[in-house]
C-alpha cells in the first residue's frame, strides 16, 4: 500500500490498525464457518447440519444446568489433570536438575512412559481404578507428566549461570533464589508447556470420558454418536474447543504482560 493511500472513511490510523488486528483474529474462523455452511448447503443436514442449528444447540447446552454441568466436569478434569501433572512434573524436574543420579534413573522411565499411548492409559486406568474421577485424573496426569517434566527440566538447565552467580553473590535464602532467579527464568517455558499440554489434555479427556466415565463432554459425544446426531456432536465439541481457545487466549495475555521486558529485537521471527 502506498504511504499516501487514503484511509477508509478517513478513520484514524489507530482505528485502522485495531480493525486490522481484529480482522486477522476473526478472519480464519469466518472462513471456517463459511466453508461449513457451504457444505451444509451441499450435503444432507444429518451429515453437515447448518450453523444456526449447531449454534442453537450450543446455547441450549450452555443454558441447561444439567448439560452445562457436564461441560464444567470436563473442564475441571482437564485443569485438575494438568495442575497435577504440572506439580508432580515440576518436583521431578527439580530433583532431576539437582541430582545427576536421579536424572539418569528417572529420564529413561519418563521416556518409556512417553511412549505409552493415551488410549493404553485409558485401558489401564479402567482396569486398575474404580472411581471415575480418580481414574480420569490418573489418565490425565500420566499422559501429560513426561512433557511437563522434560519442559521444566530443560528450562531449569537453561538458567543463565552468569545471572545465577550474580544473584548468589547477594547470599539469597533458598526461597529468595527461587523467587528472584529460578521462577522468572523458567516461567516462559512453563507457559509454553501449559499451552502444549492443554491441547493434548483436551483430546485425552474426551477419550477417557468416552470409555471410562458416565458424564462429561466425552460421554455426551458417545450419546450423540449412538443417536447419529451430528448437530449435537458438533455442539458438544465446540464447548471444548471454545474452552481451549479461551485458556490459550488467557495464557497469551499472561505472556504479553509477564514478558513485556522482552525487546522486539529478541524476536527473530
Amino acid at each position: 500500500m502506498s504511504a499516501t493511500a487514503p484511509r477508509p472513511n478517513g478513520a484514524p490510523p489507530g482505528a485502522v490498525a485495531a480493525a486490522r488486528r481484529y480482522g486477522e483474529v476473526v478472519a480464519p474462523y469466518l472462513v471456517l464457518a463459511a466453508v461449513w455452511q457451504l457444505a451444509a448447503l451441499a450435503f444432507p443436514s444429518y451429515l453437515f447440519p447448518p450453523l444456526d442449528a449447531v449454534l442453537a444447540r450450543f446455547f441450549a447446552i450452555v443454558t441447561s444446568a444439567k448439560q452445562f454441568t457436564d461441560v464444567l466436569a470436563t473442564l475441571w478434569r482437564i485443569l485438575a489433570g494438568l495442575a497435577g501433572a504440572f506439580l508432580i512434573g515440576g518436583v521431578i524436574a527439580f530433583v532431576m536438575a539437582q541430582s545427576r543420579t536421579m536424572d539418569r534413573f528417572l529420564a529413561p522411565i519418563l521416556t518409556f512412559f512417553q511412549g505409552i499411548p493415551a488410549l493404553s492409559w485409558v485401558v489401564f486406568a479402567i482396569i486398575w481404578i474404580h472411581g471415575i474421577e480418580l481414574r480420569i485424573f490418573v489418565i490425565m496426569v500420566m499422559t501429560t507428566l513426561p512433557a511437563f517434566t522434560f519442559q521444566i527440566l530443560g528450562a531449569l538447565r537453561a538458567i543463565s549461570k552468569d545471572l545465577f552467580e550474580m544473584v548468589l553473590s547477594f547470599r539469597p535464602t533458598r526461597w529468595g533464589r527461587f523467587r528472584v532467579m529460578v521462577l522468572p527464568s523458567i516461567l516462559p517455558d512453563i507457559l509454553t508447556a501449559w499451552k502444549v499440554n492443554l491441547g493434548n489434555a483436551s483430546r485425552v479427556v474426551v477419550v477417557a470420558e468416552l470409555v471410562g466415565a458416565t458424564g462429561g463432554i466425552g460421554y455426551e459425544l458417545l450419546q450423540q454418536q449412538q443417536l447419529f446426531d451430528m448437530t449435537g456432536a458438533l455442539a458438544w465439541t465446540l464447548q471444548l474447543v471454545f474452552f481451549v481457545l479461551l485458556v490459550q487466549r488467557l495464557l497469551a495475555w499472561i505472556e504479553t504482560h509477564a514478558f513485556r521486558y522482552r525487546a522486539a529485537s529478541e524476536h527473530s521471527l
Binding site: L163, S169, F170, G176, V180
Partner: protein
C-alpha cells in the same frame, strides 16, 4: 576497622598460604593458586594484575565464597566466606565484567535485588535504589528494562546494585573492560571517586596496567599459578619517574 592499643589492625581479606587445585578429567591436576599469602586492609583499593589464566578469577571466587581453597585459609573480616556463606549477606558486593542485569526487572528492580535479600521494606529499598540510580546519573531511567539501556548505562545500574547494599567490601571483576574507551574511562573515574567517598575496601581484577594505576592505591602483580610476583603501593605523591619505574617492573614481571 580500628585496632585496639597494642593490636595490629585486622585485615579485611587474608589469604594464608592458599593453594587451589582443580581436577581436569584426563589432564590430571591443575594448580590455579600456589601457596599464596596476601592481606588487604580496610579502605584500600587493590588492583590484582596478571595475565589470562594466572588465577585471578579463582582468587576472586574464593574471596566471594564461591570456591573453597584446597590448602590454607581465606578469611574475610576474620570469617570463612565459603563455609559461612550466608553470614556475608550485605557485607560483600560484586561488580562483574558484564552487567549481569536480570532482563525481566527494570533498572530499579535490578538495584533492589541485594536490598531484597537484606529483607528491607519495599518502600525503603525503592527509595534507596532510586537514590543510587540518581547518583549514578540514571534518574528518569528507573523503569527502563535492561534492553532499553546502553552498555554504559547497564554497567551503571550494576554498580548502583553493588553500592546499594552498603557492603564494606567490593569485588570488581574487570567491570569496565566491556565498555568503549571513553565510557569506560568516565565510569572508572566516577567509580573510584565513589569508592573513596564511601571508604570501601575494593579488590579489582584487571589486565590493564593503566587501569591498575588509575584504580588502585596498591597493585599486586600475579604470576602463573597465582603467587605474588610484585606488590607495590601507589601513592598519589609518586612522581612521573617513580611511576615509570613501577610500570617497567610490572611489565617485567608480566612478561617473565
Amino acid at each position: 576497622m580500628t585496632a585496639g592499643p597494642g593490636r595490629l589492625e585486622e585485615p579485611v581479606v587474608r589469604f594464608d598460604r592458599v593453594t587451589k587445585l582443580f581436577e581436569r578429567p584426563g589432564e590430571g591436576t591443575f594448580r590455579a593458586v600456589d601457596d599464596l599469602s596476601l592481606e588487604i586492609h580496610a579502605g584500600t583499593r587493590v588492583a590484582l594484575l596478571g595475565k589470562t589464566g594466572c588465577g585471578k578469577s579463582t582468587m576472586f571466587n574464593m574471596i566471594a565464597g564461591l570456591l573453597d581453597p584446597t590448602e590454607g585459609t581465606v578469611t574475610v573480616n576474620g570469617r570463612d566466606p565459603f563455609r559461612e556463606f550466608d553470614s556475608f549477606r550485605g557485607k560483600l558486593a560484586v561488580v562483574f565484567q558484564n552487567d549481569r542485569l536480570l532482563p525481566w526487572r527494570t533498572a530499579i528492580g535490578n538495584v533492589e535485588i541485594g536490598l531484597e535479600m537484606l529483607g528491607l521494606a519495599p518502600q525503603e529499598r525503592h527509595d534507596m535504589a532510586q537514590r543510587w540510580l540518581t547518583q549514578l546519573g540514571l534518574g528518569g531511567h528507573e523503569n527502563d528494562y535492561p534492553h532499553a539501556l546502553s552498555g554504559g548505562m547497564r554497567q551503571r545500574v550494576s554498580i548502583a546494585r553493588a553500592f546499594a547494599t552498603n557492603a564494606g567490601l567490593l569485588l570488581c571483576d574487570e567491570p569496565f573492560s566491556a565498555l568503549d574507551e571513553i565510557t569506560g574511562q568516565r565510569l572508572r573515574e566516577e567509580f573510584v571517586s565513589l569508592v573513596r567517598e564511601k571508604r570501601k575496601t575494593a579488590v579489582f581484577i584487571t589486565h590493564s596496567i593503566n587501569e591498575a594505576f588509575q584504580i588502585g592505591d596498591r597493585i599486586v602483580v600475579l604470576k602463573r599459578p597465582a603467587r605474588i610476583a610484585y606488590d607495590v603501593k601507589i601513592s598519589p605523591d609518586l612522581d612521573a619517574a617513580e611511576k615509570e619505574a613501577i610500570r617497567a617492573r610490572i611489565l617485567d614481571e608480566l612478561s617473565a
